[in-house]
Each structure stands twice: as structure tokens, then as C-alpha cells.
């Protein structure tokens, strides 16, 4: 199973295995990792599963398509950066094995 590392705002790291096909958001929620709220349960409708993608992974995860629902939801996340993604829109694949995502100060 691919391993994903979630880094809390305070720096604490959680390295967990996430089954193929689940979302990166689901991997955090199912492992009770604090800092990803996912209020809408993965419908791309709340922006409370916001994460920052480590620079070297951006080529693999890609960026949200301009004008997409993800891009517009992210544009309201107060702490959004150019490397922001909504983790419910990232599907776990072999290619994401080793992915590192960092969590923002808070979800909003």
C-alpha cells in the first residue's frame, strides 16, 4: 500500500498506509490525523481538507485545473498558497507512494 506522510502545523509527522483508490483526505480521516476536517465528506464543497504539497511532489499531484470547482473552493481558503490542494480530490495511486503533505494552521 502507498505510504503517505501528513505533517501537522506544529510539525508532528504521521506516516500511514492508505489503500489504493481512496483519497488523501480519507487516509487522514480514517487514521484520526488531526488537522483535516473534511466537513463535506469529500464532495469538493467545503475546502476544510486543505493541504500543502511538498515542492518535489507537485509534478506528480498536479495543480487544480483553473476554473474547476477545486480551484474556486481553494480560492476562498484564507491560507491558500500556490502549492495548495484539496486532499479529497487527490486519489491515492502507486505514483503517490511516499507523498508528503503539510497541514495549514487551521481549516476554514
Amino acid at each position: 500500500m502507498p505510504k503517505i506522510t501528513y505533517v501537522e502545523y506544529g510539525g508532528r509527522e504521521h506516516r500511514v498506509e492508505v489503500p489504493l483508490g481512496l483519497s488523501v483526505m480519507r487516509g487522514a480521516v480514517d487514521n484520526n490525523i488531526p488537522g483535516i476536517d473534511a466537513d463535506c465528506g469529500g464532495e469538493c464543497a467545503c475546502a476544510t481538507c486543505h493541504v500543502y504539497i511538498d515542492q518535489e511532489w507537485l509534478g506528480v499531484t498536479g495543480m487544480p485545473v483553473p476554473g474547476s470547482q477545486e480551484a474556486s473552493m481553494l480560492s476562498f481558503a484564507a491560507l491558500a498558497q500556490p502549492n495548495s490542494r484539496l486532499s479529497c480530490q487527490l486519489k491515492v495511486s502507486e505514483a503517490l507512494d511516499g507523498l508528503v503533505v503539510r497541514l495549514p494552521e487551521g481549516q476554514h
Binding site: C40, C46, S72, H108
Partner: protein, 416 residues
């Protein structure tokens, strides 16, 4: 849900299905809405009401159908020109646009102006002030006598918060409460503060002038971190036409006020109606954050939001036509057993308590949702440190509205 004893008894099942009209504000004032939606969810989850005081409209009663419309703002518009966000249109020549009644791109530009004030970093800064005020208000409450929780606690705390967000003169803060009540008033209700749309517009004009004066002053000063200063210093909002300025002020006043106020009151009621949950809370106050989300779901402070279809489409197997009014009944989606387990029960330690519709979803999702949760969390933390028991002494008086689930007064007593 138990209906108040004095509410008229209606056999909901005997109403012809096509005559079911859940837009009647009386259903919410009498707190008898529950069986209407239970029937619609069962028999006609996407329901067309041909005739109502507000014209024909579609009702969405299931969580998933509401979500489908929330995320499809391309087709389901919030635009003021099409009628806006409530089943009742604002009168054409008195409509008051604001970003909640706009579609992208203008919605996005304006929302981004105000959202920093309620972003995580700023909330952390506000926590101390909110806690200190909450403590002061609670310490001042009488013991062993009945008083109105709404006036002494819910209105007082939310009004203080509003005054802070606007940096409005603190001693005049109840003026903000009054304008909020005016802005949401149903002018057909005998106990409303205004009795015609003209009178409402005139009162809101006074509000706009008073706040406009502060806005102009702040435009001349260096930018500060309050809503008026932020509006005054941003390209997207500094030159709003009068009615749009009025609408924006109303949105920011009502948005942050009534909803949180009614959650503060509704939470105390829910705990009193469910003594075993109240006991759970006393035994384990660490449940407060999860209880706060459950209170917001259970109370559902905003009854509905409305959209207007800008193209033909399908929702839950029904054909919705361009121009149709589509009403998302949050009160019903939050009680949908296909989305939420045992939804009619108030359970303070639910799994995934934030998965509810009370804040909406999609691009209009409540910008203040984390602030509202913060205020409620602090309130309950401070209450539980002081008053393990607060008794509800009589029925709540509710507001005549199909939009804001308002509670006007609630008699309570803290044992001596």
C-alpha cells in the same frame, strides 16, 4: 421533535401531496415543521409546490439533492436579479444585492475581502477577548430566579461580537441588534419591528447612513482589521452603489448575529430536552467541540436557501426548468436518515459531527462557520465551569419566518 402543546394539530398525511406548502412561516413559528418534511422525504423528496404566497417553487428535502445543487452554481444561481436566495423575492425596486446574492466572478472578489477577518489566525487572536466577555456575561446572571436567556446571554454575546467585527461604538451595540432584526423581519408578522417593505427600507437606510459615516472615516485612515475598514480599502468593495452597500452591511450583520444567537439558545433547549445527553456533557466536558457541531445541526439556524435555475436540468429524477425557483430545505436535509444516522436524536458525541448542512456547501458556504463554532465552544466551556444545571422554565417564543430559525425568548433559571 415535540410540538408545543398549544400548536394546532394538523394531520399532515391528509393534505393532498401537491398542496403541501412548507414555505408557510407559521410552521416554523409553531415548531410543527417536522412531519411535513418527514412526509416529503418519503413520498416526494423533490417536490413541486404550484401555488404559494411566493409563487411556485421546488423543494429539495434530501441531503444529497441539496448537495448537488450547492456545488452546481453554474446552473443554480444566487443572483439578486433573478430573485436571490430566499423563497420570497425582495421587491424589485428595493432589492439589496450583496455577495451572498451574487454569482462568480463578483461574488468571489467580494467574499475574499472579508474572509481574512474570520480566518484561523485571526480567530486565535480573538479567543481571549471572547472568553473574557463570555465569563463576564455569565458571572452577571441571576441565581434562583427566572430570566430570558435570549436577551441576557445570546443577544448580548453575539452583539458584542458584531461590535468588535465592525469596530462599532461598543455602548451603542444594541443598535446593531435592532438593524439585524429589521433586516430579517417578515413584515407580515404582527410582532415584527417593521410592518411594510417601505418601512424596512427606510430603517435600513438609516443603518446604511450610520455605518456609511464610519466607512468614510475609515477610508481616510490607514487600513485596520475590521469589516468596515476592510470594505473601505478594497478595490472590489470601496465603490459600491448605495443598495449594494446596504445589502452587504445587512449580510454581515445578520450573518454573524441571528444564526449564532439562535444556536446559543437552541443548544440549551436541546440539552434540557435530552437529559441523558446533558449528563454526558457534565461527565465529559471534552465533548464540547463535538456537541457544538451537533447543536448547529440540530438547531439548523438557517431554514432554507434558494437558487434559481439558469438552464433546464434534473434533480432527483425531476425535470427542473430554466427560471424555476429551487429551495434547499436545510432543516430537512439535516434530518435525512440516508445521510445522518438517527437524525431526529440529539447526540453530542456523534461520529463526524460536522457533516451537516447548516452552513451550506460550495462557494457560498458560510464564511463565518469557524467563528460561530468558536463562540459556541467558549460559551459552553465557560458555562460548564460555573453552572452544571440551567433549567428551561417554559416554552420558547419563536420568530415568524421561513428563513431564519429564530428564537425570540426563552425563560430559564439557574438554581440558587
Amino acid at each position: 421533535m415535540t410540538a408545543p402543546l398549544d400548536a394546532p394539530h394538523v394531520d399532515v398525511d391528509s393534505i393532498p401531496l401537491d398542496r403541501m406548502d412548507v414555505s408557510d412561516p407559521k410552521l416554523y413559528q409553531d415548531d410543527v415543521w417536522w412531519p411535513y418534511f418527514a412526509r416529503l422525504r418519503r413520498e416526494a423528496p423533490v417536490h413541486y409546490c404550484r401555488q404559494s404566497l411566493y409563487g411556485p417553487y421546488w423543494s429539495l428535502t434530501k441531503y444529497k439533492d441539496i448537495m448537488q445543487v450547492e456545488v452546481n452554481h453554474q446552473v443554480y444561481s444566487s443572483a439578486s436579479e433573478l430573485g436571490g436566495i430566499a423563497v420570497e423575492d425582495q421587491p424589485k425596486d428595493m432589492d439589496r444585492p450583496s455577495f451572498i446574492r451574487m454569482d462568480p466572478p463578483k461574488h468571489d472578489e467580494q467574499r475574499m475581502v472579508v474572509s481574512p477577518v474570520v480566518a484561523p489566525g485571526n480567530l486565535a487572536n480573538m479567543e481571549g477577548v471572547i472568553r473574557e466577555r463570555t465569563a463576564r456575561v455569565l458571572d452577571g446572571l441571576p441565581r434562583g430566579e427566572t430570566f430570558d436567556w435570549v436577551d441576557r446571554v445570546s443577544v448580548e454575546l453575539t452583539t458584542m461580537m458584531l461590535a468588535t467585527l465592525f469596530d462599532y461604538p461598543f455602548e451603542d451595540r444594541r443598535q446593531l441588534t435592532y438593524w439585524s432584526d429589521v433586516a430579517i423581519a417578515n413584515v407580515r408578522s404582527p410582532d415584527a419591528p417593521v410592518h411594510s417593505e417601505e418601512e424596512k427600507f427606510a430603517e435600513l437606510t438609516k443603518m446604511t447612513e450610520a455605518l456609511g459615516k464610519l466607512f468614510n472615516e475609515r477610508a481616510q485612515q490607514p487600513p485596520k482589521f475590521d469589516l468596515l475598514s476592510m470594505l473601505a480599502h478594497s478595490e472590489a468593495t470601496r465603490n459600491m452603489p448605495f443598495r449594494e452597500f446596504m445589502g452587504t452591511l445587512s449580510l454581515l450583520i445578520v450573518g454573524g448575529n441571528d444564526t449564532t444567537r439562535n444556536s446559543m439558545t437552541g443548544g440549551l433547549m436541546a440539552l434540557n430536552e435530552h437529559p441523558s445527553e446533558y449528563q454526558k456533557l457534565r461527565d465529559d466536558p471534552s465533548l464540547i467541540p463535538s456537541m457544538v457541531s451537533e447543536v448547529i445541526r440540530y438547531v439548523t439556524p438557517v431554514i432554507h436557501m434558494r437558487r434559481t435555475a439558469t438552464a433546464d436540468g434534473e434533480i432527483g429524477g425531476k425535470h427542473v426548468k430554466k427560471g424555476d425557483k429551487v429551495v434547499m430545505w436545510y432543516v430537512s436535509g439535516n434530518r435525512d436518515p440516508d445521510a445522518i444516522e438517527d437524525p431526529d436524536n440529539f447526540i453530542i458525541d456523534r461520529p463526524r459531527p460536522r457533516q451537516h448542512l447548516s452552513f451550506g456547501f460550495g462557494i457560498h458556504r458560510c464564511v463565518g462557520n469557524r467563528l460561530a463554532e468558536l463562540q459556541l465552544r467558549i460559551l459552553w466551556e465557560e458555562i460548564m465551569q460555573r453552572y452544571p444545571v440551567i433549567e428551561v422554565m417554559g416554552p420558547a417564543k419563536r420568530v415568524y419566518s421561513n428563513f431564519i430559525h429564530g428564537i425570540r425568548s426563552l425563560p430559564v433559571r439557574i438554581p440558587a
